[in-house]
């Protein structure tokens, strides 16, 4: 039991915060606890969730990709154009996902093969891909999306919107990918020590390019959700969304320095953020206060585990600032960390 708590302390903290947030939200607004409303509010977060899961392996590898919302816009306007042109979705979707994966692969190539810093590369492509989206969409954007393309936004299983099911399926997929495949093992290894991984015959370049391509493809999928939910596409779709996506990943306990983090954490942090925002919006809390609460939450969730560690006097574990131990199955360092934990 103690071991379970220790291993899952980050996730348990998030679960606790979610319960607190839900209690607080239901006291703020009588409309909060209605499951239909709750699920319909949750669909607003699907786009962020898909990008967050896509970003997760990249961050585990110790890199960053802030160009994802721009890739989403390229995906959404391409799908919009394809829909208006009468291209069947079964043909357009794989093509668009491939294009978005290609945009991601270009990021990955520049980072991994050319060796440029990922923040700089994706800062550049953040602007460049946005420009591409504007050029494809034109000034007015695309409207008149056909029902085939919008089905994802208007189908329910019982009372659960299909887009929510999609998020859960994607979460399960990434959990499998990161825990049961060599890609996952390599990702944790690279994030912990890229140089050592290279010496250990880990295909660093290929693994990074795959992670970035996957992130691009997930953004393309988020583009489909955009088109389906909002029945339109414009060059400025999801502009500024990266802050929320990054918040979700970091709040989920994925170390920004790489090498650790779990899908469960990311999913829980998304649920927490969605709970808080929905509750505050249902209670018409002013926008500035909402931002303040989310900001404080981020600081608290990162600070509490560290404060607990300090309180327990385990100063040695503080050296590598990790709120969550690495969990790659064949991760090279857990043994070292366990030793540090005493």
């Amino acid at each position: 039991m103690r071991q379970f708590v220790r291993r899952n302390s980050g996730e348990l903290l998030l679960v606790g915060l979610i319960v607190l947030a839900a209690v607080w939200s239901s006291s703020l607004s009588p409309y909060f606890l209605d499951p239909v409303n709750l699920l319909s509010s949750a669909t607003s977060f699907v786009i962020f969730a898909l990008m967050a899961f896509g970003l997760y392996p990249v961050v585990v590898q110790g890199e960053i990709d802030i160009s994802l919302p721009s890739t989403l816009a390229v995906g959404s306007v391409l799908l919009g154009k394809a829909s208006v042109a009468g291209v069947p979705l079964a043909l357009a979707l794989p093509l668009v996902l491939a294009v978005c994966a290609g945009l991601g692969a270009l990021n990955g190539y520049l980072v991994a093969a050319v060796g440029l810093p990922s923040l700089a590369v994706t800062l550049g492509t953040l602007g460049a891909y946005r420009g591409v989206a504007y050029i494809i969409a034109g000034d007015a954007g695309v409207v008149g999306i056909t029902p085939e393309y919008t089905a994802l936004g208007s189908t329910w299983i019982g009372i659960v919107p299909v887009s929510i099911v999609l998020v859960l399926a994607v979460a399960a997929g990434f959990a499998l990918l990161m825990s049961a495949t060599s890609f996952g093992r390599y990702s944790f290894a690279i994030g912990n020590n890229a140089a050592a991984s290279r010496m250990g015959a880990v295909p660093v370049v290929r693994t990074r390019v795959v992670a970035y391509s996957l992130a691009g493809a997930m953004s393309g999928l988020a583009g489909l959700v955009w088109v389906a939910q909002y029945q339109s596409a414009r060059g400025d779709n999801a502009d500024g969304a990266i802050l929320f996506v990054l918040t979700a990943v970091v709040l989920g306990g994925v170390s920004i320095k790489g090498g650790s983090g779990r899908v469960a954490g990311v999913l829980l942090s998304l649920i927490l953020l969605a709970t808080l925002q929905t509750g505050m919006q249902l209670a018409n809390v002013p926008g500035t206060s909402q931002t303040l609460v989310i900001g404080c939450l981020l600081v608290v969730s990162l600070g509490v585990p560290r404060a607990i560690a300090l309180f327990r006097g385990r100063r040695r574990t503080l050296a590598p600032v990790r709120t969550d131990p690495p969990h790659g199955p064949d991760d090279p360092t857990p043994a070292v960390l366990e030793k540090q934990r005493g």
Binding site: N37, S179, G235
Partner: protein, 352 residues
């Protein structure tokens, strides 16, 4: 989620995922589930609640419009709430609107940040009997009942050009700073200003830089663009912007560059943001309308729709008391059309 994976479990897991997916497909439907009835205690009171959602909160222009809405609500004896995120993006506004629906306001008064993307949320609101009025920036026509348009695009364009000629009576070369290529009102303003300069003899003394720059309602970026425009076009006389953020920022850039009196910024701006420029003689005129009265008219129209006094049919009249009477035009568009020109003589009489 599966922190201690072993390869032998992989097949079982994949099978589970596939089985779940198959189950999910079986139960699909395309009719939205209905939320349970709102909690009791509503009745008459719940039906006189109006929510105003600006593009985003914290921008002075929208805060002034909010005051107008509040005043209308006071005069009409209804409940008024100002809702929204402080982030200028469509997803934030959509989330705000989605969460407004379960609260069952009688009407929503909305300035759409992306008129097409917010349309599904507004349509959903209308399906549930909530009246929707847009102000400042319209949404898709079928997603709202009324649009209270501050100034027709044509009137807005000619007003800004008039302000330009008041600054530089002998005309000269003008450059445009717009908000974003996806803001329909801003793009229309620039297009019509170009047309007027090309065709209307009144404005023939003006010429323009064809490329339009976009500052995204950001003061810092507007200043940068204004500075670059002056450097790239030594013969520039005027910088015109229909963004209430960009126009004063461009004037600030002119003052900072020591070009005051040679180059003039004009366009739409809140009087408080250009008071010093006009009093110091850096600029002769800026224009706008009264955002508070716009908010007042939009809120009044929403309340009359909700009370069933009007149905948004063409030709109907909206009586906004001291704020005037307005007729519903084609496609539910109501023209407010009261431009204001701020000059040395009247700038002190505006408090916002």
């Amino acid at each position: 989620m599966f922190p201690f994976a072993r390869h032998r479990h992989r097949r079982a897991r994949i099978a589970t995922v596939l089985a779940t997916a198959a189950l999910a497909v079986v139960g699909c439907s395309s009719t939205p589930p209905q939320a349970s009835a709102p909690p009791a205690g509503g009745g008459e009171a719940a039906n006189s609640k109006i929510f105003m959602a600006p593009k985003f909160t914290g921008l002075a222009y929208f805060e002034v419009a909010k005051e107008g809405g509040e005043k209308a609500a006071q005069d009409l004896g209804i409940d008024f709430q100002y809702i929204g995120s402080d982030k200028p993006d469509a997803t934030a506004q959509i989330a705000t609107l989605t969460n407004a629906i379960p609260q069952r306001p009688a009407a929503l008064v909305v300035s759409a940040i992306d008129g097409d993307a917010v349309a599904p949320a507004l349509r959903q609101a209308r399906q549930q009997g909530i009246k929707v009025v847009t102000y400042d920036a319209d949404a898709a026509v079928d997603s709202r009942d009324l649009f209270v348009n501050q100034l027709s695009y044509e009137l807005a364009a000619s007003t800004m050009l008039d302000a330009a000629l008041m600054n530089s009576p002998q005309g000269g070369k003008a450059a445009f700073i717009s908000a974003s290529p996806t803001a329909p009102n801003h793009t229309a303003h620039v297009r019509i200003m170009k047309q007027l300069i090309d065709t209307d003899p009144k404005y023939s003394s003006l010429s323009y830089v064809d490329t339009v720059q976009y500052a995204g309602d950001d003061a810092q970026k507007s200043q940068e663009i204004a500075l670059n425009l002056m450097q790239a076009n030594p013969d520039l006389k005027l910088i015109i912007s229909s963004s209430a953020v960009s126009a004063p920022a461009a004037e600030q850039a002119i003052v900072n560059a020591g070009k005051s009196g040679q180059v003039f910024a004009t366009g739409f701006a809140l009087p408080s943001s250009v008071r010093d420029f006009i009093k110091n003689g850096n600029s002769a005129a800026f224009a706008l309308w009264d955002p508070a009265e716009l908010g007042y008219v939009a809120t009044t129209a929403a309340s009359q729709l909700a009370a069933g006094k009007i149905t948004a049919a063409e030709g109907q009249e909206i009586d906004a008391g001291a704020a005037g009477k307005y007729t519903v035009g084609k496609d539910g568009e109501v023209q407010y059309n009261k431009p204001l020109m701020f000059t040395k003589d009247n700038i002190d009489s505006f408090s916002y």
